[in-house]
Amino acid sequence: MNGWGKYVVLALIVAVATHIVVIFGTPTVLMNVALQRLGGGHYNAWHLGERVTQASRTIVRPAPDFAYSACPYDLSNGPVRIHVTPWTDYWSLSLYANNSDNFFVLDDREAQNGVEVLVMSAGAAPPDHETATIVHSPSQRGIALIRRLAPTPDTYAAAAQVSHADVCSGAH
């Protein structure tokens, strides 16, 4: 290849590679940022978010009508056990892999009395006699999120009180 051709080819190869890296890497990078922001580097514990206001800048497009509790989880030391305390109105538990996929969601229609979930690594065998709902996470790290419908300051305060009974901890 003569002249400028080889340089143009190199530029195009680098451009395509950069494009692919950015597109595929964006969800993982943003999820890692969210993991840090929501948990401050701490894993396997619930963090109740303050009521969403103009000052809320942790996650884009937050809904001011919900009380959010987030648990960044890490399965590198084994399964993580999650317990969600029921709420008087809509609530849901959703799990997100480190590429942002919402791979599990359950709401109060399916679990009126709350739920206990054991989050395990992909392919891990569940313990014998386990009564919790078994969920296999596609990634070692991810985020568990509880949404409780609480559109007013009073309902938010009540939801915050209820959230103290939620559990997110290593199962060992």
Partner: protein, 195 residues
């Protein structure tokens, strides 16, 4: 020799810039192309889905990280008026809707940085539990920088130009079928002359 090395470096830098710019363009300009449109509202059913492709996943991560999958909730966005103009703080709008066939819904106003507008009006959203509807079931929300005499109010104060609305539809009923007629309609009431 030095000239040749410089040429390789320039080629690599040009590739990085081109690749980065094309990815940015795909994530910014591609939002619309990955969505279904119902009148002025757009919906991306792939939000949160494990079946989402790499572009959809990247767009959702940028504009709606930690969104629920469509099995649980649907997210509709509206960012322009009936004339195709970006929504602006200097305008007054009416949002009118019927009962939505779902367990719960809300409409939230976001500034163009995708966060709540920087004001202390505590009027960033209206929702099914608080909206005041007429006897015919029709509700109307005023979108403006001051409340005036409106009962249902979404404050656009400090939202500037380019804000957007997100309609959340949680646990939609089986017969919920989004359409231009079933979703709330936005109408411009007036705009300040400077807009």
């Amino acid at each position: 020799m030095l000239r040749r090395v410089l040429a390789w470096i320039v080629a690599i830098v040009a590739g990085l810039v081109l690749g980065g710019a094309s990815a940015w363009a795909a994530l910014t300009l591609g939002v619309s192309s990955f969505s279904s449109h119902y009148g002025a509202w757009s919906l991306n059913r792939a939000a949160g889905s494990t079946a989402a492709g790499p572009y959809t996943r990247a767009i959702i991560a940028r504009y709606g990280l930690l969104a629920l999958s469509s099995r649980e909730a649907l997210y509709f966005n509206l960012d322009h008026d009936e004339h195709g103009q970006p929504l602006s703080e200097s305008c007054i709008y009416d949002l009118t809707g019927n009962a939505i066939a779902t367990r719960w819904w809300s409409v939230t106003l976001y500034a163009n940085d995708s966060y709540l507008a920087r004001n202390d009006d505590h009027a960033a959203s209206v929702d099914a539990t608080r909206i005041n509807a007429g006897d015919d079931g029709i509700w109307r929300a005023r979108i403006s920088s001051v409340q005036g005499d409106s009962v249902n109010w979404l404050s656009s104060r400090n939202a500037r130009r380019g804000f957007s609305l997100t309609l959340r539809v949680y646990n939609p009923q089986r017969d919920f079928a989004p359409s231009e007629d079933s979703l709330p309609k936005l109408a411009t009431v007036s705009c300040a002359s400077s807009s």
